[in-house]
Symmetry: C2
Subunit: 153 residues, 2 copies
């Protein structure tokens, strides 16, 4: 089942997540879980994937601690799949992906749903990456390394 990354060098902070959610369907399952879906059949109907695949994906997500199975909630003898804290931690990933999709994958003017602030109904801002001192950071302003203990400038 595991995609088998044999590469140590790649097992960085980006590669490890991909090992858990790096396939196509998993993120869509998680997105639906954020939307409140919990039952096998709900996911299957929403996503339209084959049941064996859904079964495998759910099992994989549970084994990675992203979803958890809880006995039931409404009488039925089945289980439900709910996001763990780790799973809920994927919220920024979904938002980032969605914002990128909205910016580059829709024609200007093409009608589509978007992420809005529930309280006000107004669109959210873009995700922001801030430095420790509050400066807004872009791709060229960061580097991947061990944080310096340095304080002096």
């Amino acid at each position: 089942m595991a995609k088998r990354i044999s590469h140590q060098k790649s097992m960085c902070g980006v590669a490890r997540p991909l090992d858990a959610i790096g396939d196509w369907w998993s993120l869509l399952i998680i997105r639906d879980a954020f939307d409140g879906l919990r039952r096998f059949g709900e996911f299957q109907k929403s996503l339209g994937l084959a049941k064996n695949i859904l079964s495998a994906r759910l099992r994989n997500l549970v084994s990675h601690g992203i979803l958890d199975t809880v006995p039931a909630s409404d009488g039925s003898p089945y289980q439900e799949y709910v996001l763990t804290a780790k799973g809920r931690g994927l919220f920024p990933v979904l938002v980032a992906l969605r914002q990128w999709g909205e910016e580059f994958f829709f024609e200007p003017g093409e009608q589509h749903v978007t992420l809005v602030d529930k309280e006000k109904g107004s669109p959210v801002q873009r995700l922001r990456l801030l430095a420790e001192d509050g400066r807004l950071l872009g791709p060229t302003d960061t580097v991947i390394t061990f944080p310096e203990a340095v304080v002096a400038d």
Copy 2:
């Protein structure tokens, strides 16, 4: 080559991106591109994937307008792969994934590289999602809909 999603409902702002970068390697290639890698051989050495796969992935990324091929830069008769604006737009996605990975995929105390502010060398803050009026938003504070379509309760 395309994973062929036939599901209209799924072709939302999350699914469209996944159609372009939804496989395991593509994001790692893009990550390396952010790190300054440009040449076929550099990607191959860094990632350790088979050359045919790399070739296919690069072609796919170029066809999606995420990478662009430029003739050469240092005399060699080959081409280089550079991020387009669309590709650079993936920066928040990578950051989100990395921050999630750092939070949940490393033992507390396990040594690992992280994203730091290039200027100061200090760790960056977590990505923030802000409402239009500046409130910090979490998973339960947002909903996916058409903007302004919210009904008062």
